[in-house]
Subunit: 439 residues, 2 copies
């Protein structure tokens, strides 16, 4: 599996001569993405593609390459695959569509490829795939240009669609570390990919997009083992009747009852997310935050309204507001208006109203909460106005206590760009927690 | 009510002499926001504030002003309110905190203000409020600077928190048209604000943030009438036990059983949203889209995976994929690979794979769907890669058919910045629809 993500040499069959917008030239895309290995384009009608010598067939490539990428019409795939086998190539990505996802003839063609591969010990990704992505090696096996990522995360993706590999799936400002679109999963499937990412030191969080599954039992066995080592997040689609039906023609996936998946995922320690927003939040939380040891949350807010929203959120997702001891309340109330009670959520807005030092009070409150044994995690609600009024950035108050105390608790900091919009990440934390530490 | 949003003159009591960052000088904030009316600062210790003559008391202001804004310590509010009454002022915003939301003494102070107001026909917003916002008149009654909005919508807000008025609540790139923070709602409350926005020609969509409610029956009666005229979206918080308890100390709101709210809202034709994301989606949809006449959705996608996700979404939210007649399928399949079936969702991705003109096919497919009597609305899934490859912007294919055909259907276009992340807006549409046109 490793060499799918780190091939020293690649032969690409079915490269158009055209380049630029609309050509979907995958050799051009690989070069632009900064791939450092050897690329051998195969196109019987071209002498040169993107400045590289082009070969009339796989058999004439002068080197035994690590990987072949095939993207030709479905009827030409099998003979080219045979040439790859003959050339001794052990890894093939079949981009082409029109196989088991399409019709009976496509299914037969796919079967023939699989038996040939098994017979000769060749591993196949696809067909019907956008291939693999490795942002640690500037490797992008897909047609269509993809801009090189400035920030790469240690979250890796196993997907049944190329869409998830592409631009839209970037979470926050980061990109996947590695990604694989298993497509029709005729050979390399979830189990293989999961095992690879489990052993991959560059992967900390594993994300899966799943429409259906073939080796169900083996997958769950593998996942149960992997989730003890690394978190696994699954976006399972085809939940609905219509969606399940459609999955058959998308990636030839047979989709079971959704409740069965729910239960099986839970047993295997998998975190299931329902949509893209939850997925993004979960990935971000798992990359950035530590695990909470319990459900007791201390909440500091500069708006009572958001405090109430976060209490609603606690109840929705199995967290609970910590009981703050009266002594802590008294400490927090020092310097506040006499009518003000600081409980949990600790709403320190009135401090601004009386002209107090907001940043200082925010910092002091966070510091007190961080030291309390009653609290497993802290939710810090804050925002910055759009103005350049930096005294109003209560987040500044976080810095000093975070530096001073060892942070054993999760801190979910709501971003400056939104308060209530950003409450969802907190919710996800709870879900993650429940899944990561089954009591 | 109108003059709260469009006062020709305002007296501001409790203005600090300090200006700039951290001063929370509301006169400075009003001036910076571009207010065109007269401002009379009141501060016994200052001769001049922000270049304006300052007065020692409300009684010495030489004009009968439309509106007074009071932000002083709670013990000084009542005497100043009495002076306002004496000066003949009929509208007062009390920013100060420490009233019914705080303790028994605060509750008594608030009662005294209310009886004085009733006696003299004075309307009061607050206490415990950030006041009002009118982006059509550059009016921002709140301390803390707020940058002037470049894009103003016709969505207006009624809130129990100033947080919602401020920067974080901007949806998309637009801002509220008008907004009011009713705070403790001692006098002006949801009913008053709802009636005002109902009759306000600058308001098309009414958004409410609600923690609790006082005149419940009157509110529902009013809302039932208003929702026949304009959509009303409510973000009701304090859903949880802990949240409900906390709402009492935030805005002195008594919160009832959440299920009761659910049922009452439904009867009144109110659209209830659960969180900020749903709220933003709902506002955007109601401002931009037309109402669907039925639940039958035609889906065009450039990724099978997103098609499946949208089918899941249909089931979640009461929409259903339209049955596409075979004749339409055949039309859509013209020029496609022979193994490809185009149904609903219409996945036209394979067109790119065979080098077809993506934009043209996208446009043709949308045009066919738009003409079909089987379809009440269209979901168009598309994205642009981050590259400058404009031939890959399938949305370009939308333009021509949209110009050519009268669009009686809702089109939810997923933004270039994300595919699966953006499926939620669609879901909201359904919810909106169910609420706006109860069958």
């Amino acid at each position: 599996m490793r060499k799918f993500f780190d091939p020293k040499s690649v032969v690409v069959v079915g490269v158009p001569r055209k380049t630029g917008a609309g050509a979907y030239n995958n050799v051009e895309a690989m070069i632009n993405y900064g791939y450092k290995g050897h690329i051998y384009p195969v196109n019987p009608k071209a002498k040169e593609i993107c400045g590289l010598k082009s070969y009339p067939s796989v058999l004439e490539v002068p080197q035994l390459v690590d990987l072949a990428v095939i993207s030709v019409g479905r009827d030409r795939v099998l003979p080219i695959f045979e040439e790859c086998v003959q050339a001794g190539i052990r890894r093939v990505i079949i981009v082409s569509q029109g196989f088991a996802e399409a019709d009976a003839r496509g299914a037969r063609l796919q079967e023939q490829i699989v038996s040939l591969a098994r017979e000769h010990g060749v591993r196949v990704v696809g067909p019907n795939t956008m291939g693999v992505l490795n942002n640690f090696r500037n490797l992008n096996i897909s047609f269509g240009s993809r801009s090189v990522s400035e920030k790469v995360s240690h979250a890796s993706l196993i997907s049944q669609t190329g869409m998830m590999l592409w631009a839209p799936v970037r979470f926050g400002y980061q990109d996947w570390g590695k990604a694989i679109d298993t497509g029709n999963s005729c050979d390399v499937d979830f189990v293989d990919a999961l095992e690879y990412f489990d052993s991959d030191p560059e992967t900390q969080v594993i994300v899966m997009h799943m429409e259906g599954i073939k080796r169900g039992e083996e997958f769950l066995k593998t996942a149960t083992r992997v989730t003890n080592n690394k978190p696994v997040i699954v976006l399972k689609t085809g939940r609905s009747k219509a969606g399940a039906k459609s999955a058959v023609s998308h990636t030839a996936s047979l989709v079971g009852e959704d409740e069965v998946f729910d239960a099986a995922f839970r047993r295997a320690g998998i975190i299931r997310v329902k949509n893209g927003s939850e997925l993004r939040d979960a990935v971000r939380a798992l990359l950035l935050l530590q695990e909470m040891e319990g459900p007791r949350l201390g909440i500091i807010t500069i708006t009572g309204a958001a405090g109430i929203m976060s209490l609603d959120a606690c109840e929705d997702f199995g967290l609970r507001p910590a009981d703050i001891p009266p002594t802590l309340s008294q400490k927090l109330e020092e310097g506040m208006p006499d009518w003000l009670r600081i409980e949990n959520p600790a709403d320190i807005w009135p401090v601004a109203m009386i002209g107090g030092n907001f940043v200082e009070i925010y910092g002091k409150t966070i510091a007190q909460l961080l030291q309390s044994p009653e609290i497993d995690g802290i939710l810090a609600i804050a925002y910055a106005t759009s103005a350049s009024d930096s005294s109003f950035y209560p987040f500044l108050g976080l810095i000093e206590p975070l530096q001073r105390y060892r942070i054993r608790q999760v801190i979910t900091s709501l971003s400056p760009s939104g308060v209530i919009w950003k409450i969802q990440p907190l919710l996800l934390l709870s879900q993650i927690n429940v899944n990561l530490s089954p009591a």
